[in-house]
Subunit: 209 residues, 2 copies
DNA sequence: ATAGTAATGTTGCAATTGCAACATTTTAGA
DNA sequence: TCTAAAATGTTGCAATTGCAACATTACTAT
C-alpha cells in the first residue's frame, strides 16, 4: 500500500509540509476528532496512533466503518464522515497532520518534483481506496454466507498469491465485514471445514481447493 | 457531479489534451474495449456513447458492475477492470479519450492554472467515487431487504433534499444494486406500500414518513 | 400496427439466515 | 497471577429470503 510520502526524502517532506501549511495536532486516547475539523475541507494523515470511524445506527448499534492506522490518510471529501451519525475516535494517543484541501491544489502549481510525487501518491491512494471498496462490494453482493466467504478467500488469496489466508481481524469483525451474523458465519465456516474445503488454525485459513 | 473538464475553457481543454498526449479512439457498438488498453495504465473519458463493465460470474451469471455514461471517466487503476473475468463493452458507438497515467503526473509540473483545475477535478471525481461506494456499502450491510430499501431511500432523499425518489434504473437493476432477489424485493416494496410508508408511481417513490 | 422481447407482479415453498441463549476459551489489564 | 471482559463455539427455532413458475404489462424494432 502506498504511503502519502513514499519516495519523498525526509528533507523534502519537511519542505513540502511547510509549503502545504500543514498543521500537526495531538489527541489524547478516546478524544473525538470530528469536532476539530468539522466544516473544514481537509486531508488528515495519521502519524502515530489509531483512529476508528464509527457509525451510530438508528437502532443504537455501533458499526466500525473504517479504521485508520499509522500512515493512513482520511479526508473530509471521501472518508464517509459526512453523515451526522458518525464519530471519529482515537483509540490511542494520536498525532495527526492536517492539510487544507485548497493548499494541496494550489501547491500543485509549483515545479518541485516532490510535489509531483505527492500528487501521484495521493491519486494512487484514492485509487486503492476505490479498489478496496470494489472488492468489498463484490463480496457483499454474493447472496449466501458461503459464497461471501469463498469470494473473500478468492480475492485475498489472489492478492497475496497464496492459499494461506491470515485474517486481519477477529471473527466478530470478520462477520461485520461480510455483513452477516457471527454465529451463522461460524456455522458455515465449520461446514466448509467439515466438507474439506478449508483448514482453520486460529486466524490462519488454508484453502484446500 | 464533477466533470473532468469542469471550469476549463474549450480552448484550454484542447491545449491540455495536447500536452497530455491524449488519444481519441472510436469504437463500434458492442466492441470490446479492454483488449485495446490491456496492460497499459490509462485514464479514459467517455465523450459520446455508453459503456458497461460486466463481470462473468463463475456460475455463468453476468453482472453489470459499472456503467459509464458520457463525460464519466474510468481508469485501469481504479475501475475494477482488473479481474480477468471482466469485460468492457460499448453499448453504442463510442468515442473515448485515453490519457496515459504517467503523462498526468508529469504534466503536473507545469504552472498552467488549467492543470491545477484538472488535477482538482480528478481528485474530486475519485473522492466522489469513493463516496458513492461508501453509500452502496452502507446499504449492502443492512441485513434485511426492508432495511436496505430504507437505507437507500434515506441516502437518496438526503442527497436530493426531497421525499420524492426517482429510480435511475429498472426494478430489475435496482434489485441487482441491492443484491437481493427481484421478486423478494417486489414483495417487500408492496409491504411498505400496504403499511403506508411509501407510495409508488412507476419509478417515482414518495416517502410518507 | 404488431410480434417478440424485456420488465414487472405475484405466490408457494424450501433453504438460508438471524436471533437468542448458553458454554467455553482467549485476551488484556490490574 | 488472577479476574473481568471480550471473543469464540454451538444449536434450536422462527423469520426472511431466494428460487421457480407463471401471468401480465411495457417496450422496441420492423
Amino acid at each position: 500500500m502506498v504511503n502519502l510520502f513514499d519516495k519523498i526524502s525526509e528533507k523534502n517532506k519537511e519542505k513540502l509540509l511547510r509549503m502545504l501549511e500543514a498543521n500537526t495536532l495531538f489527541f489524547k486516547k478516546n478524544a473525538p476528532i470530528l469536532s476539530t475539523i468539522k466544516g473544514e475541507n481537509v486531508i488528515g494523515i495519521v502519524l502515530t496512533g489509531y483512529i476508528q470511524i464509527v457509525r451510530n445506527d438508528d437502532n443504537g448499534n455501533r458499526t466500525i466503518i473504517e479504521e485508520l492506522e499509522e500512515n493512513t490518510i482520511f479526508g473530509t471529501l471521501f472518508s464517509s464522515i459526512t453523515g451526522e451519525d458518525c464519530e471519529m475516535i482515537c483509540r490511542e494517543d494520536t498525532k495527526l497532520i492536517i492539510i487544507e484541501y485548497n493548499r494541496i491544489i494550489i501547491g500543485v502549481q509549483s515545479n518541485y518534483t516532490f510535489y509531483t510525487q505527492f500528487i501521484q501518491n495521493l491519486l494512487q491512494i484514492l485509487s486503492d481506496k476505490i479498489n478496496e471498496r470494489n472488492d468489498r462490494i463484490k463480496i457483499l453482493t454474493k447472496k449466501t454466507i458461503r459464497n461471501k466467504l469463498l469470494e473473500y478467500f478468492k480475492i485475498v488469496s489472489k492478492r497475496n498469491g497464496s492459499k494461506n489466508i491470515y485474517l486481519p481481524f477477529t471473527f466478530t469483525e470478520f462477520a461485520d465485514y461480510l455483513a452477516v451474523d457471527r454465529c451463522a458465519m461460524s456455522r458455515e465456516l465449520k461446514n466448509l471445514k467439515d466438507e474439506g474445503f478449508i483448514e482453520i488454525k486460529s486466524k490462519k485459513i488454508t484453502l484446500l481447493y
